[in-house]
């Protein structure tokens, strides 16, 4: 119901943003309160929940065993999935992941994978035969905007919380963990910017997203690298706007990293 109203009051939302007013009193470059909880389920090998304002995402990790890809015989793998649960929004339906869920999963995946945070060589058990595969699944429980950053943060938190399961005779022993953590060599943080006319908002709420002309996400590491870009939505960014996003991303990521 709210969503329809927000579409209709888009002009008012834009006017207020132009005056620098956000509904919860934040500045344009400020995140909502963030709450991370680790180890939310016992059966997962790693898990976390993230609340970003009212946006609520769970992430769970399950290790699997499998054959490596032929072109990388000594590397394990990661697979990221996203479920935009029907309970999370009146506009989400049950069913297989749609294009929005797929895009979200792939952007989160790229940011982590390309940062080389996970040492894929260390996931190799026997070259060409057996490797660990990390199944990382994200469940969106409530969508109040900025699912990208909330999901990326939940994903990273769950990985950080992960411990390898016990393995015997090339099989995972269920219900037994090892205490061996999954080491993360970097902490890549995804930062999404929502463009509303010529303003760039950090951590847009759903109401603000409804007034937006597109978004740009950049994933950054603590040692000065960018590991993923994604422009989405109908809109465009000028070169200097992208540069402003990048500078702000490095700044905000430092704050977010401290929460992990």
């Amino acid at each position: 119901m709210n969503e329809i109203i927000w579409d209709l009051i888009k002009d008012k939302t834009i006017d207020e943003l132009k005056k620098g007013i956000r509904e919860d009193g934040r500045s344009l470059d400020q995140y909502r309160p963030i709450k991370i909880e680790y180890g939310i389920t016992k059966n997962a090998d790693g898990s976390a929940s993230v609340k970003l304002g009212n946006t609520f995402v769970l992430a769970g990790v399950k290790f699997g065993l499998g054959e490596p890809y032929p072109d990388s015989p000594n590397e394990g793998a990661i697979s990221v999935g996203t479920e935009l649960l029907a309970m999370a929004s009146p506009s989400f339906d049950v069913g297989p992941p749609d294009e929005n869920a797929i895009e979200l999963a792939r952007v989160v995946d790229r940011g982590i994978r390309e940062s080389k945070a996970i040492d894929f060589n260390s996931l190799c058990i026997r070259e060409g035969e057996l490797v660990w595969i990390i199944y990382l699944d994200l469940y969106v429980l409530n969508d109040d905007g900025n699912l990208f950053d909330a999901s990326a943060l939940a994903a990273l938190s769950a990985l950080k919380n992960s411990k390898f399961p016990k393995m015997e005779n090339d099989k995972i022993v269920l219900k037994e963990s090892t205490n061996i953590p999954l080491n993360l060599k970097r902490l890549p943080i995804l930062n999404t910017f929502t463009k509303v006319e010529d303003l760039l908002l950090v951590d847009a709420s759903l109401k603000e997203e409804k007034a937006s002309d597109g978004r740009f996400s950049v994933c950054v590491t603590e040692d000065g690298f960018m590991t993923a870009f994604q422009k989405g939505g109908i809109g465009s960014f000028k070169k200097d706007e992208i540069d402003r996003c990048i500078d702000l991303a490095f700044k905000n990521a430092e704050l977010l990293r401290k929460l992990l």
Partner: protein, 231 residues
Amino acid sequence: MNKRPDGRNPEDLRPIKIEVGVIQRADGSAYIEWGQNKIYAAVYGPKECLPKHIGNPYRAVVTYNYRMATFSVPERKNPKPGRREIEISKVSGEALERAIFTEKFPNTEIEIDVEVIDSNAGTRVAALTAAAVALADAGIPMRDLISAVGIGKANGQLVVDLNKEEEDAEDAVDIPFAIMPNTEEIVLLQMDGLLTKEEWKILCEMGIKAAKQVYEIQKQALKSKYFVEEL
């Protein structure tokens, strides 16, 4: 400055050839050869929105279907569209939608179908380049064309239009990039790899320059169909 695996300089594009009006049934179409990449693009619409509930009372809905033929890659591709194709379709459609005056056609759909029949890196930007030409061929009013190009890094060098060998390099960074050439607004931007801010600044300039070269080829292709030679 080193020569690239195929002998190109860092700012050299592979040869690009565009033909307009290649699918007879479509309202607009184009065929592009970009290096080894070969892609057909067709446009249908504005047409009735089916199913009706996907329609928007304020503007046309833009649907973009990027698909790869099973035989277009070294190992046979599953004909079912994968997650990569679905993501590419989404962001490419959004890029084109920025250029189209969708508000002129409420409650209609503009459908763009692209089929990759041979590939060697950079298919999404080649497809987008062809799709923009197909939209113009269909007579859809647009703010500008969309001109796309891959930019990135391979073997320690910043380059435009990476081929597959470069994309597979250990240090490869791949950035699909598209602009509206007259305003230089960026409408498609993705990246994966490890890139510094300084490298990005250089690459963005290289991308704008290369996309404008692509734009000239697009214009030339449209002119050769629509302009009668001077007497």
